[in-house]
């Protein structure tokens, strides 16, 4: 009956999934509708039948990715934990989510540069979400600061620091893998080492500063 792999998913969805996979790997410009069609096992025109243009199809994929990235910052409440432990959990879960999608950061940055449509999508996503996401953290930070348990730092700065450290790991992963010839196991080890270091770095970096501010 159905010609393609998963009996279930129709061609329309099949195309989206294959497009997702290929775009993630080679970026918008690196993939042709012909290539997508080949991998799906259908005629190239069918892609245009369902999605009209390549840009359109891409946008659907990209929006999904952005939604996922934003979701990483949503606060799962770890009730009853100290601020430090909560922060540690957040850093680690952010890191772990990236580790499960290691190509994602590079992909998004890449398209941000090469694909004019994307910056508008990113802009909208950010405008809608950032204030909401920093809000609760900001309150906690102020409490901790007043109690003398951390130095003064804005929620935005802290989030940028964490994001920088976490994401950079995955941006440079292709280099690491290639330069050191890492297999999957050693890659995972590298992840664990790096994750620990990042947690220590961030937690230590917000400890209160002595007043001897020569």
């Amino acid at each position: 009956m159905a010609k393609h792999k998963d009996e279930k998913e129709g061609m329309e969805l099949s195309i989206l999934n294959v497009a997702d996979e290929l775009f993630m790997e080679k970026g918008y410009n690196g993939v042709s509708t012909t290539e997508i069609a080949q991998k799906v096992g259908c005629n190239q025109a069918l892609i245009h039948y369902y999605y009209r243009t390549k840009a359109n199809l891409f946008q659907k994929v990209f929006e999904n990715k952005l939604r996922f990235l934003i979701s990483l910052f949503e606060v799962s409440e770890y009730e009853g934990l100290s601020f430090e432990d909560k922060l540690k959990m957040r850093i680690e879960s952010h890191f772990d989510a990236l580790a499960q999608n290691p190509k994602l950061p590079m992909f998004v940055l890449n398209e941000l540069k090469n694909n004019p449509i994307t910056i508008d999508l990113i802009r909208e996503t950010f405008k809608n979400n950032v204030p909401y996401l920093t809000g609760s953290l900001e309150k906690e930070l102020q409490e901790e600061y007043k109690a003398g348990r951390i130095r003064e730092i804005s929620a935005l700065d802290l989030m940028i620091n964490i994001t920088s450290l976490n994401i950079f790991t995955f941006l440079t992963l292709p280099i690491m893998e290639y330069v050191f010839g890492l297999d999957e196991e050693s890659t995972n080890m590298l992840f664990e080492i790096r994750k620990k270091e990042i947690v220590i770095t961030v937690l230590n970096s917000i400890r209160p500063i002595k007043d001897s501010n020569k």
Copy 2:
């Protein structure tokens, strides 16, 4: 006599410079030899006359960029300064150099993904330079650690931390500029704020950890 802007530089150099500019802005795939020729003001075939292939021309540009990036890690000795002050200088000068070439990090990462040739160039550059670059820092870190002035951390981890924080600033710059509509002045202000925060973060992050390791 000469048809093009700077009387001095011959066509060959002119082409290289224009290629540099355009590749930095739009990446390898985003630029055609036709476009380069137009901007130089010469015939498209001339580019192939001097550089044979587009890939060849690109490689010349890219190698220059890598050389520059590596040079950022070379240690200028600030004699007589404390370790902390020296480290601060290093972080700031790394940041400043990037601030003067804000498109460079994105460009390199971008090509790393899209342009198979580049990973080999990067690999070679790294293999040749990293051990040499971490060497002297490693020694200093050990001294400081023994003296109880910092926590234990490897030179590589510290360099990755600094690089992550600095580079990420510039990777997300296009987003910042677009989302907040930054002009040049406010961009510079943002740089200064971020630079200060990074210095504090890094210095604080390596302070010794109390033994109460509950």
